[in-house]
């Protein structure tokens, strides 16, 4: 094993400057093949250079080239320091290479060592940080584990600031190199590095710094404004490039909550959100939330917003997992009483048409939703009650395929869909749909509790119901397939 040897070298180097050349023995091992050896070497490096840093035995300031230093007229002391500094740089270099090592242990160890160096250094080692960040976001592999290990350092205001800057720089370089081709791993890594960033809300809160500066007050890093700027630039750079759809959704999910509030200019996100909104499907649904914030708080004018929202309604909205979020927002958007009746009617009609394919938990939510729309827009009540209309229609006047709500002729139609749902197998749904026959009460239903309703909850609810009387089938059982017109007997065999 190399461990005793390493320990000996460490003792020697630290004990006597004459033995300084034994540093090479340690550095050599960093490139060893055995994982154990590498780990050991990294640990030794950490101890060695940490001690040297503490003692101030490393050269500070602009570092002359090694040859120059030997030739130039430096004192022996200075020469030693310069030489040692070069060894330190060698070590940092090999450690950053190790960040791409196969083994997680090695990666972690080298990361910790680098961060330890960082703590010990005098001025903020921006170069070192860049090395670390580049090591954290490799292009071809998933580094989420390492990144999560790194998160503890992101608590420091200065580290976070410089990481954001480094990431921005890295994205620019990497993306330029590969010319707009999506890099799933790289982007994923970047996302997992930057998404947990927890920005401070007030400048007062910014107290945790890794490095102490003399002129702390004037230092740029201590200004929230600067942080926000860096944050904004980082995200904009990141989102400028095309994202894989999974990542797209992830970004959109956190956008309104942990990105927009910390930007200096949230309106800069408009482009991104507009594009996302136009993608369609779940991505559009998710973009809605960010758009809402922009419209609501930042006076964004979005042309044909409702038309777009209308086109978002397709059968999948009742089945996707973002259903609660979407309907929460849709409820908000449609809460305005200034909306034209044709628009609301088109929404009602489309929602109920789609409800024909919805699972019961969604139906239990959407029926009160539709009722609320009726309450807010009494002009739409013709959909429920048309006393003087034509008696027999051969066709539903509503045109489902029409993308323009104003031309969908929804106001000429009736809610036959809900009438059909009165025959739904789930008793609660049938009951909810039966409200169609009665005139609505004035008070709106509270649907917030229904938004998150899940299928398993429905089942549990049914199971918990107790009944005194359990009716039994009165037809006598004649075997498993004894019934008349047994479909299963017709098509299945038990053998």
């Amino acid at each position: 094993m190399a461990r005793p040897a390493l320990a000996a070298s460490l003792e020697a180097v630290l004990g006597d400057r004459g033995n300084a050349n034994r540093v090479f023995e340690i550095l050599e091992l960093l490139a060893a093949k055995e994982e154990e050896d590498v780990l050991c070497a990294a640990r030794t490096c950490r101890r060695l250079f940490a001690a040297l840093l503490r003692r101030g035995e490393l050269f500070a300031g602009s570092l002359p080239a090694e040859e120059d230093a030997l030739r130039g007229n430096y004192s022996a002391e200075e020469k030693y320091k310069i030489w040692m500094r070069h060894r330190y740089n060698d070590c940092v270099e090999s450690l950053s290479e190790l960040l791409g090592h196969d083994s997680f242990q090695v990666k972690e160890s080298s990361l910790c060592t680098l961060m330890k160096f960082w703590k010990g250094s005098i001025a903020f080692p921006r170069h070192l940080l860049k090395v670390v960040v580049n090591g954290l976001i490799p292009i071809h592999e998933d580094a989420s584990l390492l990144i999560s290990r790194f998160q503890e350092y992101m608590e420091y205001e200065d580290v976070r600031y410089f990481v954001m800057k480094a990431v921005t720089e890295s994205i620019g370089q990497v993306m330029q190199k590969i010319k707009e081709r999506p890099l799933p791993f790289y982007q994923q890594n970047v996302f997992s590095l930057i998404s947990p960033i927890n920005m401070p809300n007030k400048e007062r809160d910014m107290v945790k710094f890794m490095m102490k500066q003399d002129n702390q007050e004037e230092w740029k890093v201590s200004k929230l404004q600067a942080h926000k700027q860096a944050f904004e630039r980082m995200w904009l750079t990141f989102l400028k490039h095309q994202l894989p759809s999974g990542l797209y959704k992830k970004v959109l999910v956190i956008l309104h909550d942990s990105i927009l509030p910390y930007m200096n200019e949230p309106t800069l996100m408009i482009d991104f959100l507009t594009v996302a909104y136009g993608v369609g499907g779940a991505i559009s649904l998710l973009a809605l939330n960010g758009l809402f914030i922009l419209i609501h708080q930042h006076n964004l004018e979005y042309p044909d917003f409702y038309k777009k929202l209308y086109s978002l309604l397709d059968p999948s909205i009742y089945h996707v997992k973002y259903r609660a979020r979407f309907f929460h927002l849709a409820d908000l958007f449609l809460s305005s009483s200034h909306l034209p009746a044709y628009l609301v009617a088109a929404f009602i009609k489309r929602l109920s048409r789609l409800a024909l394919t919805a699972p019961p938990e969604a139906l239990l939510m959407v029926i009160p939703f539709i009722c609320n729309l009726f309450r807010r827009h009494p002009a739409c009540k013709v959909l429920m009650h048309r006393p003087n209309g034509p008696q027999d229609l051969s066709e539903d006047p509503y045109i489902m395929e029409q993308e323009e709500p104003s031309e969908s002729r929804a106001l000429e139609s009736s809610l036959w869909e809900l009438q059909s749902l009165q025959n739904h197998y789930h008793p609660d749904v049938a009951q909810a749909a039966a409200i169609l026959n009665q005139s609505l009460s004035e008070i709106e239903d509270d649907i917030s509790g229904l938004l998150e309703l899940s299928a398993s909850e429905l089942f549990d609810k049914e199971i918990k119901k107790t009944s005194a009387n359990v009716p039994l089938e009165f037809e006598q059982v004649r075997g498993l397939f004894g019934k008349k017109n047994d479909i299963i007997a017709e098509h299945f065999a038990l053998d």
Partner: protein, 804 residues
């Protein structure tokens, strides 16, 4: 004013006491000094007041009068135990005038004294008696005849003797005590003693005669019997044997005839029963019963009257682990055996309440269990379909299962023997009920599932059948799936099918069927479709759902979605246009073309076959052709289901919209020509049902709501309760308040009465004292006066003397 009134009142009472009351009251009422008017501050319309005019004088005099009659009397008779009862005729009857009274009294007195011989003998008419006989007369018969000597013929005593003893109607002693002298005159020379002796002699003679007569009769019958026997032996032609037999049989054996009579007498009398019904009537009854059941079913389907029958015993949840639960006698029926098999049918027909509960428990349990892929056990299930078996989770309860079901292979012969043993035991044990009750309480409440048959046997050894059942039940309850994760086993699709057999699936809400519905809907929407097996399972669920709703025609969106999805995966990729598939199917991505068959040969060789459920487990073993055939069968099934859906949902107002995606897919995407002929038939069958429906829409109209009544200004009517206007509270509370109020009022009234009584008494006592004092004063005065005169006289005498 008060004083004046009092005085007046006194005057009036005294006057009123004699005359009739009514004119006085009228007079009093007209007297303004007697009347007290309670003035009302406000006139309230429609209020009737009882007390607007009062007659305080009258009421006070009434009260005083009443008190003098009751309280004063009591007071005067205080500490006196003797009561003087005045029995004079009509003494207190004021209705009879004194003259009449006197006349009546006189007549009464005369009547009493009438018929008295001796006017000086005051007690003459009172005669002392004993049992209705005059004691004076009885005393005369000094010597009593001892009748015990002839107990044999007690009833045979002659009338004369009886008369002599008890003084009956005989003429011998009929004479009155008052006429002693006459008696002596009439008496014959025979003395009393002689007479009685004569009597005795007579009766003895009679007795003897009777005895001799009876003996002769006996002899005669005996003789007759003997004669008859002789003749009988001749007739029976077996003279010696029968003779002997008869002699033996004569005494100990009761007559055969008698025996039969007795038997008939003791036999259950045939009770009039309902007459046998003809087949027509039976059929009619059955029909009526079915109609009623069907009507019930329809009612439940529409969800009406859910809450009607609330009285029935409360449902016991499956999780109910009440420690002290009691095994009802009915439970025994759960396990009845017939030829070593469990006899469930009886139980089902009986439809006990317990049964239902049990079933429900089991069903719930079934639903909780997950899906189970292998269908190894299905055969067994199908045959037995026993509830109890289902109850038992199949993995760790195998021992139990074997006990309950003798067909189980593992159980073998031992089990059979055991069942027999159980049967025998059950017969012996019937009478041991009280003992058992005690024993049952000693059983522990929790049992671990026995690991082996031996352990299980030892657990049950030495227990009675009921105890064994208790143990089994407790084992089942203690190891219920809901109690531990390990107990939970996978559900088989068959359970859902059984549910549809046991319970009416058309109910609007049903404690078992509704969860089953939800469960199946979740199976169809949540489970990913990645393999052909998944498709088959899904189609099975679809068929089940269709069966469930076949009567109620309820709309199941998941079913349509799934069928659309199945059709979708039977198409080549990149054809999903004009319709949208929803979860679990995806328009693009993996797992498409699961049902796509391109092999021409397979297409041609295909024949519709029933999908064997076992495919679900052994799909890998099948050849490619077979798999392709299964795919095609799935597709055919799908077409059939679509057809059935179309028929079922025809009446829904948005039928066209519901079926729209499927129609688009069928007409525009499916390349029919590639299908084999049989498949084309299926396809066209489905399409036909979809197409030839007329679209028909009627604009919706809300039910007319009741017109809101106009606001009216009629006063709010509040019920005036006995205790005033205090409203609110429940009926019970009101009743309580009423009682409290009443009690208060009564209490006050009583206190007032008592106070008035005391005042009255005090007044009386005072007047008594005053009277006494004044009498004493008067007497003292008198005495002093007499003394003074005495003294005066004495002094005058002295003076006279002195003068003299």
């Amino acid at each position: 004013m008060g004083k004046a009134a009092k005085r007046k009142k006194k005057a009036s009472t005294s006057s009123k006491a004699k005359g009739s009351a009514e004119p006085t009251i009228a007079m009093v009422k007209s007297n303004p000094f007697e009347v007290k008017v309670n003035r009302q501050k406000f006139n309230i319309l429609g209020r009737k007041t009882k007390n607007d005019v009062g007659l305080p004088g009258v009421s006070r005099s009434k009260a005083i009068k009443k008190r003098t009659q009751t309280l004063l009397k009591e007071y005067k008779e205080k500490e006196k135990t003797n009561v003087f009862r005045d029995k004079r005729f009509g003494e207190y009857n004021t209705k009879i005038s004194p003259e009449e009274k006197m006349i009546k009294r006189f007549t009464l007195e005369r009547q009493q004294n009438y018929g008295k011989k001796n006017i000086y003998n005051l007690n003459e008419d009172e005669e002392l008696t004993h049992f209705g006989q005059s004691l004076a007369e009885i005393e005369k018969l000094n010597d009593v005849i001892d009748s015990d000597s002839d107990t044999d013929e007690r009833g045979a005593l002659s009338a004369e003797l009886t008369a002599a003893h008890f003084g009956g109607g005989g003429g011998l002693l009929r004479k009155k005590a008052s006429t002693e002298q006459e008696d002596e005159e009439e008496e014959k020379p025979k003395s009393r003693k002689e007479l009685i002796e004569e009597l005795i002699a007579k009766s003895k003679q009679e007795k003897q005669e009777r005895q001799s007569r009876r003996e002769s009769a006996l002899e005669l019958t005996e003789k007759l019997d003997n004669d008859w026997k002789e003749i009988q032996t001749l007739m029976a032609r077996k003279p010696p044997k029968s003779e002997r037999k008869d002699k033996e049989a004569e005494k100990p054996k009761p007559d055969e005839y008698d025996m039969i009579v007795r038997e008939l007498g003791f036999e259950m009398k045939a009770k009039p029963s309902e007459r046998m019904k003809t087949e027509e009537e039976l059929a009619k009854e059955e029909e009526a019963r079915l109609q009623k059941l069907e009507a019930d079913r329809l009612r439940r389907m529409r969800g009406i009257g859910e809450q009607e029958n609330k009285k029935k015993p409360s449902h016991v949840s499956a999780d109910d682990l009440t420690d002290g639960f009691i095994l009802d006698k009915d439970d025994r029926r759960l396990l009845s055996y017939k030829d070593g098999k469990m006899n469930i049918e009886n139980v089902e027909e009986e439809e006990d309440k317990e049964e239902e509960e049990d079933k429900e428990e089991e069903e719930e349990q079934e639903e909780e269990e997950g899906e189970k892929e292998d269908n190894e056990n299905e055969e067994g299930e199908e045959e037995s379909a026993t509830e109890d078996e289902e109850d038992v989770a199949s993995d760790n309860h195998s021992d139990l299962e074997s006990d309950l079901e003798s067909e189980e292979e593992a159980a073998g012969n031992k089990e059979q023997k055991k069942h027999k043993a159980n049967e025998n035991e059950s017969q012996n044990v019937e009478e041991l009920d009280p003992k058992m009750e005690a024993a049952k309480s000693e059983l522990p409440y929790t049992f671990a599932v026995p690991e082996s048959y031996e352990k299980f046997k030892s657990l049950l050894a030495g227990r009675t059948v009921e105890q064994q059942l208790t143990i089994l039940e407790r084992i089942q309850k203690c190891n219920h799936p809901s109690l531990a994760v390990g107990n939970k086993t996978k559900l088989e699709l068959i359970y859902l099918k059984i549910t549809s057999l046991l319970f009416p699936t058309s109910d609007f809400w049903h404690p078992v069927v509704t969860p089953a519905f939800i469960y199946m809907s979740q199976l169809l929407t949540k489970c990913r479709i990645t393999t052909l097996q998944d498709v088959i399972k899904g189609l099975f669920i679809c068929s089940l759902l269709l069966e469930y709703v076949s009567l109620s025609k309820r709309f199941v969106p998941e079913l349509i979605n799934f069928l659309l999805g199945v059709l979708h995966i039977s198409l080549p990729k990149k054809q999903a246009q004009g319709y949208t598939v929803v979860h679990p199917f995806t328009p693009v991505g993996k797992n498409l073309e699961l049902l796509l068959v391109c092999d021409k040969k397979d297409l041609e060789s295909w024949k519709k076959q029933n999908l064997p459920l076992s495919v679900v487990t052994r799909l890998k073993e099948l050849s490619k052709t077979e798999i392709n055939h299964i795919r095609l069968s799935c597709l055919a099934l799908c077409f059939d289901l679509i057809k059935r859906c179309a028929v079922l949902y025809e009446s829904l107002p948005s039928f066209y919209e519901i079926m729209h995606p499927i129609r688009v897919l069928l007409t525009q995407r499916v390349s029919v020509s590639e299908y084999p002929e049989q498949m084309q038939e299926w396809y066209h069958g489905a399409l036909k049902e979809l197409e030839n429906k007329t679209k028909h829409y009627t604009p919706l109209i809300c039910e007319k709501k009741k017109p809101v009544p106009l606001k009216q200004y009629t006063p709010k009517i509040v019920k005036v309760l006995e205790f005033g206007r205090k409203q609110g509270g429940s009926k019970k509370e009101q009743e309580r308040k009423r009682l409290i109020h009443k009690h208060k009022r009564e209490f006050k009234g009583a206190v007032r009465e008592i106070r008035k009584d005391n005042q009255f008494l005090a007044r009386m006592q005072l007047s008594e004292i005053m009277e006494r004092d004044s009498a004493r004063k008067r007497k003292v005065k008198e005495l002093l006066g007499s003394l003074a005169t005495q003294e005066g006289e004495w002094k005058a005498m002295k003076r006279k003397k002195g003068r003299n």
